[in-house]
Amino acid sequence: MKYMALIYAEPGSSPAYGTPEFGAFMAAYQAANEAFARDGVLVLGEALETASTATTLRVRGGKPETMDGPFADSKEQLGGFYIFDCANLDDALRYAAMIPTASYGAVEVRPIQNFG
């Protein structure tokens, strides 16, 4: 089954660039990525630019309307994602727990719909 792990965190909650903690944080991401690749579960994983760079689009009456900013008006913002291909939810949760941001924010794990 494929699962998407959506990584949410409050801006500024994880170690900032230039601090000594930042190096360890990045190393943890690298270690996680290596584990995902080694176990053959990684389909895709990307970090997103900050939520302030987001543009939200709606089409109303056939016309696109845009809004400056992210869709969800919440403190915790989507910061990145992974797509895992693994046997079941237990495995997906085990890999999601390796995502370093899970220690600062939250990771939502959702199955990707299978139309087969």
Binding site: M1, Y3, A87, L89, D90, L93, R110, P111, G116
Partner: protein, 415 residues
Amino acid sequence: MTDSQPVGQALAAIVREDGGRLLSCLITNLRDFQLAEDSLQDALESALVHWGRSGLPHSPSAWLMRTARRKAIDRLRRAANFRAKAGAVAVLEEIIRAEPEVEEGSAIPDERLKLIFTCCHPALDRQTSVALTLRSVAGLTTEEIARAFVVSDDSMAQRLVRARHKISRAGIPYEVPQAEGLAERLDAVLAVIYLVFNEGYSAGEGPLVRIDLCEEAIRLARLLDSLMPKVPEIEGLLALMLMHHARSGTRIGGAGEMVALEDQDRSRWDKARIAEGAALVERALRRGRPGPYQLQAAIAAIHAEAESFADTDWREIALIYRELMAMRPNPVFELNRVVAVSYSEGAAAALDLIAPLAPVLAGYQPFHAVRADLLARLGRGSQARDAYEKAIALSQSEAEKRFLAVRMGKIAAGG
């Protein structure tokens, strides 16, 4: 003219006894919780018709199992996306063909442990796990569970359907977890069973006819203990519930008021349950892997076996609470330790210990009740009365409010 009533009763009894096993085995065959549930219901309806006509079959469980599998094939064939399900039908037909003609109920494998771990998966909401476990493992009807939790039949049915839907769509595995995750997952199972028990325990009042959730929780723990023998925390939880339940008849007085432990009629405690619980916790502790349920059961055993309130070994109870705190820090355990200290070392020593708990437990009724009791015992009547007022204001239950008011009334004038 029909025998449908006795057949209906026989069927209900079979579902209670063997429904969990049948369902657990069907889920293994079908790999679909909802389809298994629906097919079993079809088989039960069919049994009502056929058994009413020709009597109970030689092995009712085997009959139900075979019928449920055939009903599942019917359902799969009727499904819109039949082609996608053709493989599943072929597998089922093979199972039915290969089945021995001997109709021994015991030939149905027992997969209930998988079922329990699935129903209590941490990815499900706890209250949902409670409902699903009572329905699927304990074999209660949706209506019974709805009544027990005072919600409508429809909303309980929807909640169960949603839960099965999440299990299948989110890929919650139908298996007993591997060694690495087992301890954590077992904790979740035990928490669900204890929630069932506490729901029954706190529901002591009210005219509503409710199924006895305490009995159901004990039955579930017994089942778990038989499926996973010699696990000390399972034994500990079972012992804990047995000993609480042994005292349940004396907790509420004639006027519907709560009766404090010191005022309970100990001669009316259920000796057999206490003996079973005490033996069980002793056996569990001898395995050398103490855990929170075992320690709480050990405390319950000290209470249950004490001749009187005054004869209780409060020093030992305080020590066990300290151990519990070290294992699982929790201000409520600390509050209970304070109570034990108040009887072993005196109310003044206890009052010093309770002060640091105020910030975390300010909204917790028992904190104020304990503080009030300590103040009253130290002769500080007006402070004690203030604390009782706070406790009564925080209480959610009439029986408890009456109990606290009586205690407040007993404070000597002045202070």
